[in-house]
Protein backbone atom coordinates (compact mmCIF):
# COMPACT_ATOMS: atom_id res chain seq x y z
CA UNK A 1 0.00 0.00 0.00
CA UNK A 2 1.18 3.50 -0.72
CA UNK A 3 2.17 5.81 2.10
CA UNK A 4 -0.08 8.70 3.01
CA UNK A 5 0.87 12.29 2.41
CA UNK A 6 4.20 12.57 4.21
CA UNK A 7 4.26 14.90 7.19
CA UNK A 8 0.61 15.83 7.22
CA UNK A 9 -0.20 17.92 10.26
CA UNK A 10 -3.52 19.17 11.56
CA UNK A 11 -3.73 22.04 14.06
CA UNK A 12 -7.05 23.05 15.53
CA UNK A 13 -7.16 26.08 17.79
CA UNK A 14 -10.00 27.33 19.94
CA UNK A 15 -12.65 25.95 17.64
CA UNK A 16 -16.25 26.97 18.29
CA UNK A 17 -19.45 25.91 16.63
CA UNK A 18 -22.98 27.29 16.48
CA UNK A 19 -26.04 25.53 15.11
CA UNK A 20 -28.63 28.22 14.53
CA UNK A 21 -28.39 30.60 17.49
CA UNK A 22 -27.17 27.88 19.81
CA UNK A 23 -23.53 27.54 20.85
CA UNK A 24 -22.68 23.83 20.65
CA UNK A 25 -19.14 23.93 21.91
CA UNK A 26 -16.20 26.29 22.09
CA UNK A 27 -12.53 26.20 22.93
CA UNK A 28 -11.66 22.89 21.25
CA UNK A 29 -7.93 22.73 20.56
CA UNK A 30 -5.71 19.87 19.51
CA UNK A 31 -2.94 19.12 17.10
CA UNK A 32 -2.16 15.89 15.32
CA UNK A 33 1.05 15.02 13.51
CA UNK A 34 1.63 12.13 11.12
CA UNK A 35 0.75 8.83 12.79
CA UNK A 36 -1.36 10.51 15.44
CA UNK A 37 -4.77 9.50 16.69
CA UNK A 38 -7.42 11.50 18.48
CA UNK A 39 -10.38 10.08 20.34
CA UNK A 40 -13.34 12.40 20.80
CA UNK A 41 -15.55 11.62 23.78
CA UNK A 42 -18.54 13.30 25.37
CA UNK A 43 -22.18 12.84 26.24
CA UNK A 44 -24.88 12.25 23.63
CA UNK A 45 -25.57 15.50 21.87
CA UNK A 46 -22.42 17.17 23.17
CA UNK A 47 -21.22 17.85 19.62
CA UNK A 48 -18.84 15.01 18.79
CA UNK A 49 -20.29 14.46 15.35
CA UNK A 50 -20.48 18.23 14.87
CA UNK A 51 -16.74 18.45 15.41
CA UNK A 52 -16.21 15.90 12.63
CA UNK A 53 -18.64 17.82 10.41
CA UNK A 54 -16.53 20.95 10.92
CA UNK A 55 -13.36 19.09 9.96
CA UNK A 56 -15.04 17.51 6.92
CA UNK A 57 -16.12 20.95 5.74
CA UNK A 58 -19.86 20.29 6.04
CA UNK A 59 -20.23 23.05 8.64
CA UNK A 60 -18.39 26.31 9.09
CA UNK A 61 -16.81 27.14 12.45
CA UNK A 62 -18.18 30.08 14.41
CA UNK A 63 -14.70 30.80 15.71
CA UNK A 64 -11.20 29.42 15.91
CA UNK A 65 -8.93 27.98 13.28
CA UNK A 66 -8.36 24.71 11.44
CA UNK A 67 -4.92 24.60 9.86
CA UNK A 68 -3.60 21.85 7.64
CA UNK A 69 0.04 21.67 6.66
CA UNK A 70 2.03 19.27 4.54
CA UNK A 71 -0.83 18.44 2.18
CA UNK A 72 0.47 20.33 -0.84
CA UNK A 73 -2.32 21.99 -2.79
CA UNK A 74 -5.01 19.65 -1.51
CA UNK A 75 -7.77 21.07 0.66
CA UNK A 76 -8.77 19.41 3.93
CA UNK A 77 -11.88 17.66 2.48
CA UNK A 78 -9.71 16.20 -0.29
CA UNK A 79 -7.36 14.70 2.31
CA UNK A 80 -9.88 12.81 4.36
CA UNK A 81 -12.21 9.87 4.54
CA UNK A 82 -15.44 10.32 6.44
CA UNK A 83 -17.44 7.39 7.75
CA UNK A 84 -20.48 8.66 9.59
CA UNK A 85 -23.72 7.33 11.01
CA UNK A 86 -25.17 7.13 7.55
CA UNK A 87 -23.11 4.68 5.57
CA UNK A 88 -23.24 6.58 2.25
CA UNK A 89 -24.01 3.35 0.41
CA UNK A 90 -26.52 3.02 -2.43
CA UNK A 91 -28.78 0.15 -1.45
CA UNK A 92 -29.74 -0.67 -5.06
CA UNK A 93 -26.08 -1.22 -6.02
CA UNK A 94 -23.96 -4.20 -5.00
CA UNK A 95 -21.18 -3.94 -2.44
CA UNK A 96 -18.59 -4.12 -5.21
CA UNK A 97 -20.29 -1.41 -7.29
CA UNK A 98 -20.44 0.88 -4.25
CA UNK A 99 -16.74 0.45 -3.60
CA UNK A 100 -15.79 0.76 -7.28
CA UNK A 101 -17.64 4.05 -7.35
CA UNK A 102 -15.83 5.34 -4.24
CA UNK A 103 -12.49 4.18 -5.67
CA UNK A 104 -12.94 6.02 -8.97
CA UNK A 105 -14.72 9.02 -7.52
CA UNK A 106 -12.36 9.80 -4.64
CA UNK A 107 -9.22 9.29 -6.71
CA UNK A 108 -5.79 8.00 -5.69
CA UNK A 109 -6.95 4.33 -5.73
CA UNK A 110 -5.22 1.72 -3.58
CA UNK A 111 -6.91 -1.66 -3.05
CA UNK A 112 -9.38 -3.11 -5.53
CA UNK A 113 -12.98 -3.37 -4.32
CA UNK A 114 -12.78 -7.18 -4.03
CA UNK A 115 -9.52 -7.01 -2.01
CA UNK A 116 -10.96 -4.42 0.36
CA UNK A 117 -14.04 -6.59 0.89
CA UNK A 118 -11.78 -9.54 1.72
CA UNK A 119 -10.02 -7.46 4.39
CA UNK A 120 -13.33 -6.71 6.13
CA UNK A 121 -14.45 -10.33 5.66
CA UNK A 122 -17.25 -9.70 3.17
CA UNK A 123 -15.79 -11.18 -0.02
CA UNK A 124 -18.78 -13.52 -0.30
CA UNK A 125 -21.24 -10.60 -0.33
CA UNK A 126 -19.52 -8.63 -3.10
CA UNK A 127 -22.24 -9.31 -5.65
CA UNK A 128 -25.22 -8.73 -3.37
CA UNK A 129 -27.20 -5.50 -3.40
CA UNK A 130 -26.44 -3.60 -0.21
CA UNK A 131 -30.17 -3.54 0.60
CA UNK A 132 -29.96 -7.26 1.45
CA UNK A 133 -27.20 -6.79 4.03
CA UNK A 134 -27.43 -6.20 7.79
CA UNK A 135 -26.48 -2.96 9.56
CA UNK A 136 -23.14 -4.42 10.67
CA UNK A 137 -22.31 -5.63 7.16
CA UNK A 138 -23.18 -2.23 5.69
CA UNK A 139 -20.94 -0.56 8.23
CA UNK A 140 -18.10 -2.92 7.24
CA UNK A 141 -18.56 -2.00 3.56
CA UNK A 142 -18.47 1.69 4.50
CA UNK A 143 -15.24 1.00 6.38
CA UNK A 144 -13.85 -0.88 3.36
CA UNK A 145 -14.10 2.47 1.57
CA UNK A 146 -11.16 3.58 3.73
CA UNK A 147 -9.03 1.04 1.92
CA UNK A 148 -9.95 1.63 -1.73
CA UNK A 149 -8.78 5.26 -1.91
CA UNK A 150 -5.70 6.68 -0.25
CA UNK A 151 -6.60 9.53 2.09
CA UNK A 152 -4.27 10.42 4.97
CA UNK A 153 -6.91 11.55 7.48
CA UNK A 154 -9.68 9.22 8.63
CA UNK A 155 -12.70 10.77 10.33
CA UNK A 156 -14.73 8.01 11.96
CA UNK A 157 -18.02 8.71 13.72
CA UNK A 158 -18.76 5.90 16.18
CA UNK A 159 -16.98 3.41 13.93
CA UNK A 160 -17.55 0.42 16.20
CA UNK A 161 -21.33 0.76 16.42
CA UNK A 162 -23.15 -2.25 14.92
CA UNK A 163 -19.85 -4.15 14.59
CA UNK A 164 -19.26 -7.56 16.19
CA UNK A 165 -16.12 -8.09 18.30
CA UNK A 166 -14.14 -9.72 15.48
CA UNK A 167 -14.87 -6.80 13.16
CA UNK A 168 -13.98 -4.33 15.91
CA UNK A 169 -10.58 -6.01 16.21
CA UNK A 170 -10.13 -5.80 12.42
CA UNK A 171 -11.02 -2.11 12.47
CA UNK A 172 -8.55 -1.47 15.27
CA UNK A 173 -5.82 -3.26 13.31
CA UNK A 174 -6.63 -1.23 10.18
CA UNK A 175 -6.42 2.02 12.14
CA UNK A 176 -3.05 1.07 13.62
CA UNK A 177 -1.71 0.06 10.19
CA UNK A 178 -2.92 3.36 8.77
CA UNK A 179 -1.09 5.24 11.54
CA UNK A 180 2.07 3.20 10.94
CA UNK A 181 2.03 4.48 7.36
CA UNK A 182 1.86 8.06 8.64
CA UNK A 183 -1.90 8.45 8.54
CA UNK A 184 -4.08 10.31 11.01
CA UNK A 185 -7.19 8.99 12.73
CA UNK A 186 -9.89 11.00 14.49
CA UNK A 187 -12.67 8.89 15.97
CA UNK A 188 -15.65 9.65 18.17
CA UNK A 189 -16.63 6.92 20.54
CA UNK A 190 -18.58 5.87 23.62
CA UNK A 191 -16.92 2.52 24.10
CA UNK A 192 -13.22 2.77 24.94
CA UNK A 193 -11.02 2.35 21.85
CA UNK A 194 -7.70 0.69 22.55
CA UNK A 195 -5.60 2.84 20.22
CA UNK A 196 -2.03 3.18 21.44
CA UNK A 197 -0.75 6.67 22.35
CA UNK A 198 -4.05 8.24 21.38
CA UNK A 199 -4.85 11.76 22.45
CA UNK A 200 -8.27 12.37 23.86
CA UNK A 201 -10.48 15.42 23.69
CA UNK A 202 -13.66 15.53 25.73
CA UNK A 203 -16.40 17.76 24.46
CA UNK A 204 -18.80 19.25 26.96
CA UNK A 205 -21.51 21.73 26.30
CA UNK A 206 -19.92 25.18 25.83
CA UNK A 207 -16.87 24.14 27.85
CA UNK A 208 -14.23 21.75 26.67
CA UNK A 209 -11.37 20.02 28.39
CA UNK A 210 -8.26 20.41 26.26
CA UNK A 211 -6.54 17.51 24.62
CA UNK A 212 -4.54 15.31 26.89
CA UNK A 213 -2.85 11.97 26.55
CA UNK A 214 -5.12 9.08 27.37
CA UNK A 215 -3.93 6.63 30.00
Amino acid sequence: MKAGVVGLRLDVEDLACNRGERRIFSGVSFSLAAGGALIVTGRNGAGKSTLLDLLAGRLHPAGGRIALSGAGDRTLPECLHYVGHRDALKSALTARENLDFARNFLGDPVLKAQEALEVVGLAHAAGLPVAYLSAGQRRRIALARLLVANRPLWLLDEPTSALDTASQATLLRLMEEHRDRGGLVIATTHAPLALRDAKEVRIERARTVLAEDAP
Binding site: D53, R74, F105
Partner: protein, 222 residues
Protein backbone atom coordinates in the same frame (compact mmCIF):
# COMPACT_ATOMS: atom_id res chain seq x y z
CA UNK B 1 -11.45 15.15 -12.67
CA UNK B 2 -12.81 13.30 -15.72
CA UNK B 3 -12.54 10.07 -13.75
CA UNK B 4 -14.60 11.34 -10.82
CA UNK B 5 -17.15 12.90 -13.17
CA UNK B 6 -17.53 9.66 -15.09
CA UNK B 7 -17.75 7.56 -11.92
CA UNK B 8 -20.66 9.66 -10.63
CA UNK B 9 -22.40 9.72 -14.02
CA UNK B 10 -22.16 5.94 -14.38
CA UNK B 11 -23.35 5.38 -10.81
CA UNK B 12 -26.46 7.51 -11.32
CA UNK B 13 -27.24 5.85 -14.66
CA UNK B 14 -26.97 2.43 -12.99
CA UNK B 15 -29.21 3.55 -10.13
CA UNK B 16 -31.83 4.82 -12.60
CA UNK B 17 -31.82 1.47 -14.38
CA UNK B 18 -32.33 -0.55 -11.17
CA UNK B 19 -35.66 -1.26 -9.52
CA UNK B 20 -37.14 1.90 -8.03
CA UNK B 21 -35.10 4.13 -10.31
CA UNK B 22 -36.70 7.17 -11.87
CA UNK B 23 -35.85 6.17 -15.43
CA UNK B 24 -39.22 4.92 -16.66
CA UNK B 25 -41.50 6.89 -14.37
CA UNK B 26 -41.36 10.20 -16.23
CA UNK B 27 -41.85 8.52 -19.58
CA UNK B 28 -44.93 6.62 -18.40
CA UNK B 29 -46.38 9.81 -16.90
CA UNK B 30 -45.75 11.60 -20.22
CA UNK B 31 -47.52 8.80 -22.06
CA UNK B 32 -50.46 8.90 -19.63
CA UNK B 33 -51.11 12.63 -20.07
CA UNK B 34 -50.79 12.60 -23.85
CA UNK B 35 -53.04 9.54 -24.12
CA UNK B 36 -55.76 11.03 -21.93
CA UNK B 37 -56.11 14.37 -23.70
CA UNK B 38 -57.60 13.09 -27.01
CA UNK B 39 -60.20 11.19 -24.98
CA UNK B 40 -61.14 14.38 -23.18
CA UNK B 41 -61.19 16.62 -26.26
CA UNK B 42 -62.92 14.24 -28.63
CA UNK B 43 -61.92 13.16 -32.14
CA UNK B 44 -61.47 16.63 -33.67
CA UNK B 45 -58.22 16.05 -35.57
CA UNK B 46 -57.80 19.68 -36.62
CA UNK B 47 -58.10 20.88 -33.04
CA UNK B 48 -55.75 18.15 -31.80
CA UNK B 49 -53.02 18.86 -34.34
CA UNK B 50 -53.32 22.59 -33.61
CA UNK B 51 -52.83 22.22 -29.86
CA UNK B 52 -50.68 19.07 -30.10
CA UNK B 53 -47.30 20.76 -29.58
CA UNK B 54 -48.64 22.58 -26.52
CA UNK B 55 -49.98 19.31 -25.08
CA UNK B 56 -46.68 17.53 -25.63
CA UNK B 57 -44.70 20.39 -24.06
CA UNK B 58 -46.94 20.63 -20.98
CA UNK B 59 -46.75 16.85 -20.55
CA UNK B 60 -42.96 16.94 -20.92
CA UNK B 61 -42.67 19.71 -18.34
CA UNK B 62 -44.80 17.86 -15.80
CA UNK B 63 -42.98 14.59 -16.50
CA UNK B 64 -39.68 16.36 -15.84
CA UNK B 65 -40.93 17.53 -12.44
CA UNK B 66 -41.65 13.93 -11.41
CA UNK B 67 -38.49 12.42 -10.05
CA UNK B 68 -36.67 15.73 -9.74
CA UNK B 69 -37.34 15.82 -6.00
CA UNK B 70 -35.21 12.69 -5.54
CA UNK B 71 -32.25 14.15 -7.47
CA UNK B 72 -30.37 15.21 -4.34
CA UNK B 73 -32.73 14.03 -1.62
CA UNK B 74 -31.79 10.38 -2.04
CA UNK B 75 -28.11 11.24 -1.63
CA UNK B 76 -28.88 13.45 1.35
CA UNK B 77 -30.77 10.67 3.12
CA UNK B 78 -28.21 7.90 2.80
CA UNK B 79 -25.18 10.12 3.46
CA UNK B 80 -23.81 9.95 -0.10
CA UNK B 81 -23.95 13.74 -0.30
CA UNK B 82 -21.20 13.89 2.34
CA UNK B 83 -19.13 11.60 0.16
CA UNK B 84 -19.67 13.90 -2.85
CA UNK B 85 -18.24 16.80 -0.86
CA UNK B 86 -14.95 14.94 -0.35
CA UNK B 87 -14.27 14.56 -4.06
CA UNK B 88 -11.21 16.06 -5.74
CA UNK B 89 -13.67 17.88 -8.02
CA UNK B 90 -15.66 21.04 -7.21
CA UNK B 91 -19.23 20.43 -6.07
CA UNK B 92 -20.38 22.18 -9.26
CA UNK B 93 -18.86 19.42 -11.39
CA UNK B 94 -20.49 16.76 -9.22
CA UNK B 95 -23.83 18.56 -9.68
CA UNK B 96 -23.27 18.64 -13.45
CA UNK B 97 -22.63 14.87 -13.48
CA UNK B 98 -25.81 14.19 -11.51
CA UNK B 99 -27.94 16.53 -13.64
CA UNK B 100 -26.51 15.10 -16.87
CA UNK B 101 -27.34 11.57 -15.72
CA UNK B 102 -30.82 12.70 -14.72
CA UNK B 103 -31.45 14.32 -18.11
CA UNK B 104 -30.19 11.24 -19.97
CA UNK B 105 -32.76 9.03 -18.22
CA UNK B 106 -35.70 11.50 -18.10
CA UNK B 107 -35.34 14.31 -20.66
CA UNK B 108 -33.80 12.41 -23.56
CA UNK B 109 -36.41 9.60 -23.59
CA UNK B 110 -39.18 12.25 -23.65
CA UNK B 111 -37.70 13.85 -26.76
CA UNK B 112 -37.21 10.50 -28.47
CA UNK B 113 -40.74 9.33 -27.62
CA UNK B 114 -42.34 12.55 -28.89
CA UNK B 115 -42.91 11.38 -32.52
CA UNK B 116 -44.82 8.28 -31.37
CA UNK B 117 -46.97 10.29 -29.01
CA UNK B 118 -47.36 12.91 -31.72
CA UNK B 119 -49.41 10.33 -33.62
CA UNK B 120 -51.99 10.40 -30.81
CA UNK B 121 -52.53 14.14 -31.25
CA UNK B 122 -52.47 14.01 -35.08
CA UNK B 123 -49.22 15.91 -35.60
CA UNK B 124 -47.91 16.25 -39.15
CA UNK B 125 -44.45 14.77 -39.87
CA UNK B 126 -42.95 18.28 -39.89
CA UNK B 127 -44.43 19.03 -36.51
CA UNK B 128 -43.13 15.73 -35.11
CA UNK B 129 -39.63 16.59 -36.23
CA UNK B 130 -39.98 20.04 -34.69
CA UNK B 131 -41.19 18.48 -31.43
CA UNK B 132 -38.12 16.24 -31.22
CA UNK B 133 -35.82 19.19 -31.93
CA UNK B 134 -37.46 21.56 -29.44
CA UNK B 135 -37.65 18.92 -26.70
CA UNK B 136 -34.01 17.93 -27.26
CA UNK B 137 -32.90 21.53 -26.94
CA UNK B 138 -35.45 22.64 -24.33
CA UNK B 139 -35.64 19.83 -21.75
CA UNK B 140 -32.07 20.45 -20.48
CA UNK B 141 -33.27 23.90 -19.39
CA UNK B 142 -36.10 22.28 -17.41
CA UNK B 143 -33.73 19.84 -15.72
CA UNK B 144 -31.14 22.49 -14.84
CA UNK B 145 -33.76 24.87 -13.43
CA UNK B 146 -35.30 21.99 -11.52
CA UNK B 147 -31.89 21.05 -10.07
CA UNK B 148 -31.77 24.32 -8.12
CA UNK B 149 -35.16 23.55 -6.58
CA UNK B 150 -34.10 19.96 -5.91
CA UNK B 151 -30.97 21.17 -4.10
CA UNK B 152 -32.96 23.68 -2.03
CA UNK B 153 -35.46 21.03 -0.95
CA UNK B 154 -32.93 18.20 -0.55
CA UNK B 155 -33.21 18.11 3.23
CA UNK B 156 -36.98 18.55 3.36
CA UNK B 157 -39.26 15.61 3.81
CA UNK B 158 -41.99 15.65 1.16
CA UNK B 159 -40.27 18.49 -0.64
CA UNK B 160 -41.81 17.53 -3.98
CA UNK B 161 -44.69 20.00 -3.84
CA UNK B 162 -42.52 22.88 -2.65
CA UNK B 163 -40.09 22.02 -5.43
CA UNK B 164 -42.84 22.28 -8.05
CA UNK B 165 -44.06 25.62 -6.70
CA UNK B 166 -40.50 26.94 -6.58
CA UNK B 167 -39.38 26.01 -10.08
CA UNK B 168 -42.55 26.14 -12.21
CA UNK B 169 -42.50 29.95 -12.65
CA UNK B 170 -38.93 29.76 -13.92
CA UNK B 171 -39.85 27.06 -16.42
CA UNK B 172 -42.50 29.21 -18.11
CA UNK B 173 -40.13 30.99 -20.56
CA UNK B 174 -38.86 27.60 -21.73
CA UNK B 175 -42.45 26.43 -22.23
CA UNK B 176 -43.38 29.57 -24.20
CA UNK B 177 -40.46 29.39 -26.60
CA UNK B 178 -40.60 25.60 -26.88
CA UNK B 179 -44.23 25.66 -27.99
CA UNK B 180 -43.81 28.70 -30.25
CA UNK B 181 -40.82 27.09 -32.00
CA UNK B 182 -42.79 23.87 -32.54
CA UNK B 183 -45.75 25.86 -33.89
CA UNK B 184 -43.55 28.00 -36.11
CA UNK B 185 -42.28 24.84 -37.83
CA UNK B 186 -45.73 24.08 -39.28
CA UNK B 187 -46.76 27.58 -40.31
CA UNK B 188 -47.29 31.04 -38.96
CA UNK B 189 -45.49 34.28 -39.53
CA UNK B 190 -42.47 33.72 -37.28
CA UNK B 191 -39.57 31.76 -38.80
CA UNK B 192 -38.69 28.55 -36.89
CA UNK B 193 -35.16 29.62 -36.00
CA UNK B 194 -36.13 32.73 -34.03
CA UNK B 195 -37.89 31.05 -31.07
CA UNK B 196 -35.66 27.97 -31.46
CA UNK B 197 -32.46 29.95 -30.93
CA UNK B 198 -33.97 31.69 -27.91
CA UNK B 199 -34.86 28.23 -26.56
CA UNK B 200 -31.25 27.10 -27.04
CA UNK B 201 -30.04 30.25 -25.28
CA UNK B 202 -32.40 29.53 -22.38
CA UNK B 203 -30.89 26.06 -22.02
CA UNK B 204 -27.33 27.39 -21.97
CA UNK B 205 -28.29 30.10 -19.49
CA UNK B 206 -30.09 27.59 -17.27
CA UNK B 207 -27.05 25.28 -17.38
CA UNK B 208 -24.78 27.90 -15.84
CA UNK B 209 -27.28 29.30 -13.34
CA UNK B 210 -28.59 25.84 -12.46
CA UNK B 211 -25.20 24.29 -11.72
CA UNK B 212 -23.88 27.22 -9.71
CA UNK B 213 -27.19 27.70 -7.91
CA UNK B 214 -27.66 24.03 -7.04
CA UNK B 215 -24.08 23.72 -5.72
CA UNK B 216 -24.53 26.86 -3.61
CA UNK B 217 -27.82 25.53 -2.24
CA UNK B 218 -26.18 22.21 -1.32
CA UNK B 219 -23.28 23.99 0.39
CA UNK B 220 -25.53 26.11 2.56
CA UNK B 221 -27.98 23.28 3.12
CA UNK B 222 -26.61 22.25 6.50
Amino acid sequence: MIRSFRALLVRDLKLAARVGGSGMMGLIFFLAIVTLIPFALGPDLNLLSRIGPAILWIAALLATLIGLDRLFQADQEDGSLDLLRLAPIPLEVAVLAKVAAHWLVTGLPLALAAPFLGLLVALSPDAMLAMVATLLVGTPALTFIGAVGAALTASLRRGGLILAILVLPFMIPTLIFGVSAANAAVGGTVPFMTPFLILAALSLFAAVVGIVGAAAALRSGE
